[in-house]
Symmetry: C2
Subunit: 567 residues, 2 copies
């Protein structure tokens, strides 16, 4: 026998590390341990199992060729020497190189010796200390058993009203699962003032918020949950500062934190997560760690972060397998590439948000754009809404966010930016991006190009922006020193010209130069159109004519419309 490899954790990173190591090094003795009996399942698929899109939990456990990844599978197909489920690793003795485990069914304990150990122990739901969180009917969706129990209750008609704590990715995916197929009245309570906080900035988050409401999800922002109350041990309602929400089911989706207990007890270096080098080795070179339990370098932030993403866990697994087998392989770090489905929308982000960038001290600015995903003349072209976050000083691209239709168009733009982000691209690099083009798929200049153009125009001062919140405030308050120049088609402008007489003025895009004398020089002039493209060009003509008080609200009226704001 070759060297003894023990892998703790058999969901994503663990099995992949074990199988890769065994394949490269068939003489090794590989042991795979998990405390659960269900292993190697697609945890990211749980919301689609609960929704019913995936009818059977076994589908989440199957290979693409429909073989269930159970214990015999790993033993027979993958050649893993020992697969121990319902087995809890309780202690690591690094000096003697043994793992102490407890067999949960028999309660027996034993010691397993290793030459190399892999910690793929995942994350733990971060449950805030709310009274009542242990009531029957309160879940965290942290494993497949919980998912099956939730689906059972839905299928048995036990759930009329659900409350979800947290409007992060899991919370929103669960909201969709409950509402869309099961017709459960769902309320999402979010501590912050927007859904997907720190992932999306306000302009895109507001689109998501409005879409949730359109789909019948009640979204309560700035929520302060005080207590979960039950009756006969079963959840009954969630008490928030201002209101109480009846609930037959409560999901706590307020994040996960790395499971570091075992590592900590063993004296391994632990910060927010288990500390690893680029080879995914812990402070003990015989022990590797990967997946949701580790800290990894963030390539935009320039410091280590916790990033509990399934795709990273899978990549970690292969890298650890390589290193175990003596093939030096590195994990370069993350850019936080993210995507999710939210009802009819694809929502994604990569890099860092404006909020995070400013907290971190970047001189961060942002550009917005909305545009059809494909040529506007191609049937069924939907709109994509995008934000670019960039550093004014270095012109470096820091982040990108997108909300589009539920096609793969949003994926495509995220793929492009995520792919180049590790190489520290500038706004110019984004302008220079070569992307394939055909009218059924995209536009001759991609939304990414146009977005980068907006950023460049902001950097050169060719485009002078104003925040939409400020625009809406001035409009509502009737600010006497501001006029709004609507550059759109007369039919589009007419209702607003009537509604705001004297302040909302229609000068169509192609008449700006000829009818410039209709635009006052002694007031703030705010140019309006649907995408901000015509507004930008109008501003250029006026700036060239010596106007000094012109502004363009970034992104255009289509944003405001998608926020559900009536103007």
């Amino acid at each position: 026998m070759g060297k003894r490899i023990v892998v703790i954790g058999a969901v994503a990173c663990g099995p992949r590390a074990a199988c890769r190591a065994k394949r490269l090094m068939p003489e090794a003795e590989v042991t795979l341990i998990d405390k659960d009996d269900l292993i190697s399942y697609g945890a990211c698929g749980i919301p689609y199992f609960i929704s019913g899109d995936v009818p059977d939990e076994n589908h989440l456990r199957e290979t693409a060729f429909r073989m269930v990844r159970d214990v015999p599978f790993f033993e027979n197909a993958k050649g893993i020497d020992h697969v121990l489920t319902r087995t809890l690793a309780t202690e690591i003795d690094r000096e003697r190189k043994v793992v102490r485990v407890k067999h949960l069914d028999s309660e027996k304990e034993e010691e397993i010796p290793y030459d190399n150990l892999v910690l793929a122990v995942g994350g733990i739901p971060q449950v805030p200390p709310i009274p009542g969180r242990d009531l029957d009917g309160v879940f965290t969706v942290s494993n497949l058993h919980q998912a099956m129990e939730i689906k059972n209750r839905l299928a048995q008609g036990q759930v009329e009203r659900a409350v979800i704590l947290g409007a992060g990715p899991i919370g929103l995916e669960m909201a969709e699962a409950f509402t869309d197929l099961w017709g459960v009245k769902t309320t999402v309570l979010e501590y912050f003032d927007q859904p997907l906080p720190r992932i999306l900035d306000t302009p895109l988050a507001r689109i998501v918020a409005h879409h949730l409401e359109e789909k019948g999800v009640r979204l309560v922002l700035n929520a302060r949950v005080k207590e979960i109350r039950g009756q006969d041990g079963r959840v009954k309602e969630v008490v928030e500062e201002k209101e109480t929400y009846p609930a037959d089911l409560v999901i706590i989706a307020t994040g996960v934190r790395p499971n570091v207990e075992l590592a900590q007890k063993a004296g391994l270096l632990v910060n927010q997560g288990i500390v690893v080098n680029n080879r995914l080795q812990t402070s003990d070179p015989a022990i590797y760690a990967g997946g949701d339990c580790v800290e990894i370098p963030h390539l935009v932030l320039g410091r280590r972060v916790v990033m509990p993403f399934g795709s990273l866990a899978n990549r970690h697994g292969r890298i650890i397998g390589d290193n175990l087998a003596g093939r030096p392989t590195s994990f370069p770090g993350t850019v936080g590439a993210f995507i999710m489905k939210c009802f009819d929308l694809a929502v994604g982000a990569t890099g860092i948000s404006l909020t995070v960038a400013r907290e971190e001290g970047f001189e961060a600015e942002y550009a917005l754009l909305n545009q059809t995903e494909r040529e506007h003349y191609f049937p069924g072209a939907g709109f994509i809404f995008v934000e670019l976050v960039f550093d004014r000083r270095t012109r470096r691209v820091l982040g990108f966010q997108a909300v589009g239709p539920h096609t793969d168009g949003t994926l495509a733009r995220l793929y492009a930016v995520s792919s180049i982000l590790p190489r520290r691209p500038t706004v110019e690099d984004l302008i220079s991006l070569e992307l394939p083009y055909a009218p059924p798929y995209t536009t001759a200049l991609d939304p990414l190009h146009s977005l980068a153009h907006v950023a460049e125009n902001l950097l050169t001062g060719g485009l002078v922006p104003i925040e939409w919140d400020e625009v809406l405030r001035r409009l509502r308050e009737g600010d006497p020193n501001t006029v709004f120049i609507d550059t759109r088609h007369p039919r589009e402008a007419e209702p607003l010209v009537k509604k705001y007489p004297g302040r909302w003025i229609h000068v169509e895009y192609d008449k700006i130069r000829r009818e410039m004398d209709r635009i006052p020089r002694d007031k703030d002039v705010i140019f309006i159109c649907n995408s901000s493209m015509r507004a930008y060009e109008a501003q250029r003509w006026l700036m060239a004519a010596g106007y000094t008080r012109t502004f363009v609200p970034l992104g255009g009226l289509n944003f405001v419309r998608r926020w559900g704001v009536e103007i």
Copy 2:
């Protein structure tokens, strides 16, 4: 007035250069010239106009906000000082800095002085010297007038049978337009032995070829067209070496070449196309050129090429506009990023093909993969077929090809690879690519990751491939020294085990290690599965057990199936 800028050509690059220059430099006097009366249209949209997807030709001429880009549009909205249509530029006098033009309607000639000149004169259809190519009913789809005439004939029921010369992108798009909506019996005659020659390699080209046949398009490869014959001046049939094809309409889509005549006459440096530097300046620094008429650096090939793509022409326009206005801006070069719709398929490529790479002297190898675009358990997940071309010596990625369902999933993968190709990525860089993941959009490890894994396994010798053509030959000829080990589900293997007794042996994936003694050591062993993943793992186990004659046909049986080959 500021400096005088004259732009020749008003389709894609020209208008963009003119408008950008004017916007940045409103004091300039900008003249835009085109020989046609229809300008600034989406030429890449022509097949969709002909198919009827785009009902009206004006849609191809409109902005996203539905304003037709005609002469008044450029004058009023864009501030272009003079827009001269139906005006042919006949000569450039570089010493006197004047362009000689002829007004095609009045036949009058005049001289237009310039400080800077822009050549955006596009390409010219490359029509082979076939007798009869001037007959009525023979078209090249080189402008919107021709497109309108073709659509008229279709709409009037004048076209029952069409013949298209050339199975390049335009030829195939036209074949779809004719067949899908108009029900025209369409034959495509291609000189080479595959559709999309030099863009796709054989494995993916065969999928496209079979799909065309499935959709009712007759595709004739290795065709040698001798003559186009007419009756009363109108096209009647196309005479090929072996067969004659009746035709009411013939499209010649055998490529375009740069329009260099004007530049050549003016003594500018011309090679295959007009020679420009990275600022898109010709050999005369006062004259810029961009779009289909120029040669540009190919960043994978390392030499200049002609690449007549609409997206590049648009990017050139903006770069020229910047440089004209005194903002130094560079065009870094191209990687040849390409995508098209072909009936139900999205077909794309970026970088260079294996054929081209080997011609150019690279030690090129290729990897194949097929996989679901999104998690296999997600409803409606279709298959994507991908090829990676890489250099064995440097491990550099040279090219990527994909054929997938008509979603934007193919676009996404092309976006990722195209974005990094200019940075000379290696196979390892592709393995390290961070891509966003969610089950509705992709798989935890993207097909790109898995494809790069195949390439790495090939580079390390962990995977020993065999060409499918060789596999099929041995199977058909009953090669006595070869056995085929089918690792799939018994139900899948059964018919072939019966059909090829003793030679086609079923050893299921998870029984390879236990039942290895059923596999002969003294024969060539070819492992079979649908995607080549199980076959690869089987090969690893056998190699570890000392087998020396094992092979895996790349890509798996799904490729063969999609070629329409019965085994």
